[in-house]
């Protein structure tokens, strides 16, 4: 085979691969758009079709008939449903979720204010969950059937079975009230509330960046308990999946080959097996991050953590449907985005799944 033949072959392969990539990306776009449309359709359905009457919800049931009629006209509720849905889509896509009855701000402004708190909590939680969950899963797989494996299994099972808000209450009782190891519920001490100006909304990063270490310690004392709780839940999931992936890898032939070559067990486990298990693990960790965003709803309520979860539950208690649906759409969108990103990442990292 001459050099020009080879280069032609390579170019052809590149073209085919580019085509494959284009098809993959197009498919992902379709998935993303339809899923997002589905999310909006469901929230539209919840907001417009299910409740009693949005006009009465705004005016109360004692308003005179002509006022009801005028407001109905103004709210666009006389139009056919598909026209209403079109306007709903247009509003939602531009981030206009209406005004919150409770705070009187636009819902999007509120969400922008509270969302970083939830992100910070979920991020620290996922970090804790993976830092402990992955090694525990590896340990359980390597020492399969041992006491250590059983303990990891039981720890995971309890994580799957325990109500998070209950564990949060008990841990607050123990670590805050009795032992006084952690700070009062909330995100930051009232002393620092005015002297500290967050930039990104991630208080840990902001305080460290500005060199305010006393603030950093205070923020840390606030976040550590709720984040550990969320971390425990992702640990339960991550350790179980890590164990199963590692068992799968450790039974492969390349492990036997590595052993025959005389590599140390440490190197085989952490360098070879875990490296191959890492690809599906990335997906698992991404999904558990999405799960923590959702799990934060109950945790934030217990810890008075001023994030999206607390915002949604407060709005629920006050029948503030705009805020509830806006929060649902934002969490749902992040959920969908993480789902799709992790899928895409999986395809990029694992050459076997690439489009040919």
């Amino acid at each position: 085979m001459s050099i020009s033949d080879t280069s032609q072959l390579v170019a052809g392969r590149k073209r085919a691969r580019a085509k494959g990539w284009a098809a993959t990306i197009a498919r992902f776009l379709v998935v993303m758009v339809t899923t997002y449309l589905g999310l909006l359709a469901v929230t539209f359905f919840i907001g417009r079709v299910v409740p009693i009457d949005p006009v009465l919800a705004v005016l109360g049931d004692r308003a005179p008939a002509h006022v009801v009629e005028r407001v109905r006209e103004e709210m666009g509720l006389n139009r056919p449903l598909y026209i209403q849905f079109y306007y709903y889509l247009r509003d939602a896509l531009t981030g206009n979720f209406g005004i919150s009855v409770l705070t009187t701000n636009p819902v999007m402004t509120d969400i922008r204010r509270v969302f970083p708190a939830t992100m910070e909590l979920a991020t620290v939680g996922t970090l804790i969950g993976s830092l402990f969950g992955v090694p525990l899963g590896v340990l359980a797989a390597v020492k399969r059937g041992s006491i250590a494996d059983q303990i990891v299994r039981v720890v995971g099972l309890i994580g799957y079975s325990v109500p998070i808000f209950w564990l949060a209450l008990l841990s607050l009782l123990l670590f805050y009230a009795k032992l006084q190891w952690v700070a009062f519920p909330g995100r930051i001490d009232i002393v620092y509330e005015y002297s500290f100006t967050p930039v990104t909304g991630f208080y840990l990063l902001d305080s460290a960046w500005q060199g305010q270490w006393d603030v950093f310690i205070d923020v840390f004392r606030h976040i550590i308990l709720p984040a550990s709780l969320l971390g425990y839940f992702s640990l339960a999931y991550i350790s179980r999946m890590t164990r199963s992936f590692m068992l799968n890898e450790l039974s492969q032939e390349y492990i036997v080959a590595a052993r025959a070559k005389g590599l140390s067990e440490t190197r085989i486990i952490w360098g070879h097996a875990l490296r191959n298990a890492a690809v599906p693990l990335v997906t698992v960790i991404a999904l558990s991050y999405a799960g923590l965003l959702e799990g934060s709803v109950l945790t934030e309520t217990v810890f008075s953590w001023p994030g999206l979860g607390l915002y949604i539950t407060n709005s629920l208690q006050n029948a503030d449907m705009n805020a509830v649906l806006g929060g649902t759409i934002v969490i749902g969108s992040v959920f969908i985005a993480i789902n799709i990103l992790s899928d895409l990442l999986y395809r990029t990292l694992d050459p076997r799944t690439r489009a040919r």
Binding site: V31, V42, I158, S161, F165, W166, S244, Q317, G332, F335
Partner: protein
Amino acid sequence: MSTAPSQSRREWLLSDRPQSRIQARLGRAYMTWLRFSSNRLAVLGLLIIIALVLIAIFADVLAPHDPVIGNLAGARLLPPGSPGYLLGTDDQGRDILSRLLHGSRLTLFVIVLVAIIAAPVGLLVGAVSGYVGGWVDAVLMRITDIFLAFPKLVLALAFVAALGPGIENAILAIAITSWPPYARIARAETLTVRNSDYIAAVRLMGASPFRIVLRHVMPMCMSSLIVRVTLDMAGIILTAAGLGFLGLGAQPPLPEWGAMIASGRRFILDQWWVATMPGIAILIVSLGFNLLGDGLRDALDPREAGQ
């Protein structure tokens, strides 16, 4: 008594050459039971669930006090171990043990109803999707994926917020968010049997597609579905308790465990037992379902037993 003393009942069940259809069926069930009962944790899970059902049936007999009307004058916030009140009392002088025993009925009510609503919906969607194929499959699976991509708890919250709080609406909301995995499983199972010989034989005999799906495809999906539903029970219990905790599930004075934790929250610093006891009940029951589900998966689906 059998005529041949050497053939015990166990051997009859494990026989390689069953003489009748009943013997074959019983033998298979016995094999499954042997696999299941060799897993001690799974048996523990089964015992927990049986205990839950028995407690729910006999709650009236077992409960020493009324679950709703307490002794406001003489028995408020008594600690566990007080005479007559094994687990203590709450702020309205109600016996916590009696409330927990009666609350098992609500827990059972929720999971049974969610299973009755969500499992058939998922089964039907998945079986039709897998059997018919083509654009029906594409559309149904796209809808399933859309629901699968939603955050379950948040969506359930939004549904209950719109429908109004209450245990029936909580059940509906949980059911709406939990059918998609069942549809996925049913479709996967259907795809594996769709082109098998026995389906072709039934089709040749002139069975309608409706009958094939209902009588010959759906039964094949049952064992995987039962495993999945059992494993999901714990999550359903936790979601229902979470809704109750937020005041969106069962309304007072119903002794729902999540709502009991919420009402005990105010006294957590001094009267810790009010919130602690219902949490232990939730933990035990959902642990029971997780253990049972793991055991069933290993027993019914030996392919995955190694995992």
